[in-house]
């Protein structure tokens, strides 16, 4: 298992360097000069433009800029935002817990509903339930997040007034962040009603963000289960007189889980992309919104630093998924 871990880690290093090159160069391939954007419609004189470019180090050759950047990253310095002038890592660390909290809730919803739904659909293949479920999953998968989020807000917050419209907690609660996770911080604050408020704020954005992964997981579970349920050993297990719950829950599901876990791992990446839109709609102060704003402002350090940190996290999640395979299927360890 240790050797397996080392092999996986060795692959991560070139991947990380590759990502850093892509993150660094792609944003520079886009048209648009970050220094010129600082002044907007107000024209900047060429002398001033040159001075600011120099102060920001943007006048140096790309290779030097990249090596300098990489050197900084290796020592934990991701640079500072051109616009806000704040260190990237500080901003990332302040915003990332919000994205993780939202994504975790969403993935819990997606897994908790997606896997049972997929299993039931597979067992009742061809039934009304199966067809309805797969129809709903297809709709969920195709739903534009922006529209779906707004629809939920209008219905549940605007008309029914069951949930707050946006934000992470009611404005009446004010406590300094300890972990950055609002659910935990609200409990730690000891303020009455804070946890319930945080939870009610989390509900709609989690549902929106969970929609696509839920659909994908349900469909994937269904097809994996169908395949496994037709295997000989399942028929043998049934023939032995095992209870349907043991056949499906223990024998079939465990084998069907391998592709499902892969899907869940991949959905983490999809979710971070989805978080960009979800966070925008629900005014959720996470990294998605921060990155989008930075792209529009051509804030190079934020985009490249943010991309690198996000990529690092996705790589880490994939590594964990790989290790989980090893736990479920011992053959993979070798």
């Amino acid at each position: 298992m240790f050797g397996f871990l080392l092999r996986r880690l060795a692959v991560l290093i070139p991947t990380f360097i590759g990502v850093s090159i892509i993150a660094f160069s792609f944003i520079r391939l886009l048209p648009g000069d970050p220094v010129a954007l600082l002044s907007g419609e107000r024209v900047m004189s060429p002398e001033r433009h040159a001075l600011i470019s120099q102060q920001l180090g943007l006048d140096r050759p790309m290779v030097i800029q990249y090596l300098d950047y990489l050197g900084g990253v290796l020592t934990g310095d991701f640079g500072s935002s051109i616009v806000s002038k704040k260190p990237i890592l500080d901003q990332f660390l302040a915003l990332f817990p919000a994205t993780v909290e939202l994504s975790l809730c969403a993935i819990i919803i997606a897994v908790a509903l997606g896997i049972p739904a997929g299993v039931i659909a597979a067992i009742k293949r061809g039934s009304f339930f199966d067809q309805a479920l797969m129809g709903v999953a297809l709709v969920g998968y195709s739903m534009p997040i922006f529209w779906w989020g707004l629809l939920l807000i209008i219905f549940f917050s605007g008309i029914l007034q069951w949930f707050p419209v946006s934000g992470r907690i009611s404005l009446m609660f004010f406590f300094p962040p300890v972990t950055g996770f609002m659910l935990i911080d609200s409990l730690l604050s000891g303020q009455k009603g804070a946890f319930a408020s945080a939870l009610s704020h989390l509900a709609l954005p989690s549902i929106v963000l969970a929609t696509i992964p839920l659909a994908v997981i349900a469909r994937q579970t269904r097809s994996a289960m169908l395949e496994v349920l037709s295997e000989d050993y399942v028929r043998t297990a049934r023939a032995k007189g095992l209870s349907p719950f043991r056949v499906v829950g223990i024998h079939a599901l465990r084998n069907a889980m391998i592709p499902v876990i892969t899907t869940i791992g991949l959905q983490i990446g999809v979710m971070l992309a989805g978080a960009i839109l979800t966070e925008t709609i629900f005014s959720w102060p996470g990294i998605g919104k921060w990155m989008v704003d930075s792209v529009f402002r051509r804030d190079y350090p934020v985009i490249q630093g943010g991309l690198l940190l996000i990529a690092g996290i996705i790589m880490l999640v994939n590594l964990i998924v790989d290790l989980l395979y090893g736990l479920i299927n011992p053959r993979i360890r070798h």
């Binding site: 886009l30 048209p31 648009g32 000069d33 970050p34 010129a36 954007l37 600082l38 002044s39 907007g40 419609e41 107000r42 024209v43 900047m44 001033r48 600011i52 102060q55 920001l56 500072s80 616009v83 806000s84 002038k85 704040k86 901003q91 302040a94 915003l95 707004l150 807000i153 209008i154 917050s157 605007g158 007034q161 069951w162 949930f163 707050p164 419209v165 946006s166 934000g167 992470r168 009611s170 404005l171 009446m172 004010f174 300094p176 962040p177 009603g193 319930a196 408020s197 939870l199 009610s200 509900a203 925008t280 709609i281 629900f282 005014s283 102060p285 996470g286 919104k289 921060w290 051509r298």
Partner: protein
């Protein structure tokens, strides 16, 4: 679960409004995050609303609801005969805010003014680069480094600015957010502690509200400044709930989660007006959108051609299609809310037959041209492509073929400046300081050719008038000069003026004391909430 959540939400909103009523908390659903809290470093209105207006003051302030500067931290001032020396007398006993992180030991004095302005104009000032890459963009944009020769302390309550040349808009410039006055004592204490960058994160000023805390991209909190030198704010707490999407802001306003919101979607305004819980304020914005011909390129170098094309633009259709009526067609290059707006100029009436004839008389046949459409939505032009399509359609009717082009925003701004640029560019401007110079010389002066002057139009008569107005100190004299300049502009038609958009502010019924600013600022020192 459903019922529990409903109950929790109900309890929360009840508690929120109960506490809001007892402590009078005003919630503003702001449209974005501030870039920082040192207004000198930034140019965005969103940043100024969160920093300059609640926390700081300036030597002069714009009188609420107008673009007229009035005494702020400076009680009075004198201007030398030649218009180059401004001597300001500061208000006495103005206290800086006491916060959790700073307790001032003295009141406002001339050192604070010298510090606040000096760091922005002198590259050698120890605070010029307190944040690496600090560009002091607004001070540079208003020409402060070249204009101000020196800023000196005469005595504790007297400051003297010496200019390199007379400049009439200087007083208005000092009322702009970037010229906010900061505490030198606080800056010194940060310097000693080796935490200079904190000046941009934990602000201390003399304004009506004290900064309490900022949770990035989510909430900014302020409380009433008990030591404020001006009329005491009527609310106890001010909260900015950052909500970037306009549709979501509207939902929050409807749900009572905030009291006031900026920048609604044009499509929502009608429904806001019929909502019994809301009041909608409207005012013409201090802006203009225009189509700038390149007056150095044939055939647009001919006045008759420009006039003919202007006659073929249906501005009413643009205003209706792009703004759903939330704008007015523009005839002058400055908005009607600005002093010196010339009421007597005649706009080129929409008349396709006359336009066609004028083109034929000018000897122009089978004209093909480009119309540049901005890729972004700005307050003065929400959808440039739609406007360009309307222009394209109209021009086709007089035999002019239009190709619509667009570029990424920074590219667009850069390429459209080129002196040999082809075609006509849709662009616009939002006023900085309410001074006509900020439109007429900035956008149409000879020295702006190759820069902000997208028409590349250098007309001696016009330029002489605006340059003369820039140095005249008497406002009635300046008004006359600017009115004449607008007449020349209309006669020469370097632009087709398109629209002035309306600024629309929806708020909850019961909110009182809010005044719309023609400059687009959102300030809350006078607001109150009916209980």
């Amino acid at each position: 679960m459903k019922y529990k959540l409903t109950l929790a939400a109900a309890l929360l909103s009840a508690t929120f409004f109960a506490s809001a009523a007892s402590a009078k908390t005003f919630v503003y659903c702001s449209e974005g995050s501030p870039e920082g809290f040192d207004p000198g470093l930034y140019t965005a209105g969103t940043t100024f609303d969160a920093s300059a207006h609640p926390i700081y003051n300036r030597l002069l302030e714009f009188k609420p609801g107008t673009t007229q500067p009035e005494p702020g931290l400076a009680e009075s001032w004198e201007i030398s005969q030649d218009g180059t020396v401004y001597t300001f007398k500061l208000r006495q006993n103005v206290k800086f805010q006491t916060t959790d992180f700073f307790t001032p030991s003295r009141t406002l004095n001339a050192d604070d003014v010298v510090f606040s302005i000096g760091r922005q104009i002198d590259a050698k000032n120890a605070w010029n680069q307190y944040i690496p890459g600090a560009a002091w963009e607004y001070a540079a944009g208003m020409g402060f480094p070249e204009l101000i020769k020196s800023v000196e302390k005469v005595d504790d309550l007297t400051v003297k600015f010496t200019l390199n040349k007379p400049e009439a808009p200087f007083l208005a410039n000092l009322a702009m957010p970037f010229a906010s006055i900061m505490s030198k004592e606080y800056a010194d204490s940060l310097d000693t502690a080796g935490k200079k960058e904190q000046l941009n994160q934990m602000p201390v000023g003399t304004g009506p509200f004290v900064f309490v805390g900022y949770q990035q991209d989510a909430v900014i909190r302020y409380k009433k400044n008990p030591d404020y030198w001006g009329p005491a704010p009527k609310i106890d707490d001010l909260v900015f709930a950052i909500t970037t999407d306009a549709a979501v802001r509207y939902q929050k306003l409807q749900a009572g989660e905030c009291h006031l919101m900026p920048y609604p979607n044009a499509a929502d305004v009608q429904s806001m007006k019929t909502n019994p819980n809301l009041t909608v304020l409207e005012q013409e914005g201090l802006n203009v959108a225009y189509l700038a011909y390149n007056t150095t390129q044939a055939p647009f170098d001919k006045v008759e051609v420009r006039k003919a094309l202007n006659k073929a633009i249906n501005k009413k259709a643009i205003v209706d299609a792009v703004f759903q009526g939330m704008a007015t067609p523009a005839k002058n290059p400055i908005p009607p809310t600005m002093w010196s707006y010339n009421e007597s100029t005649q706009d080129d009436a929409y008349d396709l037959d006359a336009a066609k004839k004028m083109l034929a008389d000018a000897g122009v046949k089978d004209l093909s041209m480009k119309v540049w459409a901005m890729p972004v939505s700005r307050p003065y032009m929400l959808n440039a492509r739609r406007a360009a399509e309307i222009i394209q359609d109209d021009f086709a009717k007089i035999g002019v073929k239009v190709e619509i082009v667009s570029y990424e925003w920074a590219e667009y701004l850069d390429r459209s400046k080129a002196k040999d640029r082809d075609g006509a560019v849709i662009l616009g401007w939002t006023g900085d300081n309410g001074d006509p110079d900020n439109f007429l010389d900035t956008l149409l002066g000879c020295n702006a050719v190759g820069g902000n002057n997208r028409a590349q139009w250098c007309n001696k008569e016009f330029d002489d008038l605006v340059k003369k107005a820039k140095v005249a100190s008497d406002q009635s004299e300046r008004t006359k000069l600017y009115e004449q300049a607008q007449t020349v502009f209309k006669k020469e038609a370097p632009w087709a003026t398109l629209d002035h958009s309306l600024s629309v502010v929806p708020m909850r019924k019961g909110v009182t004391g809010f005044t719309q600013s023609p400059l687009g600022d959102f300030t809350f020192e006078a607001v109150d909430i009916a209980e």
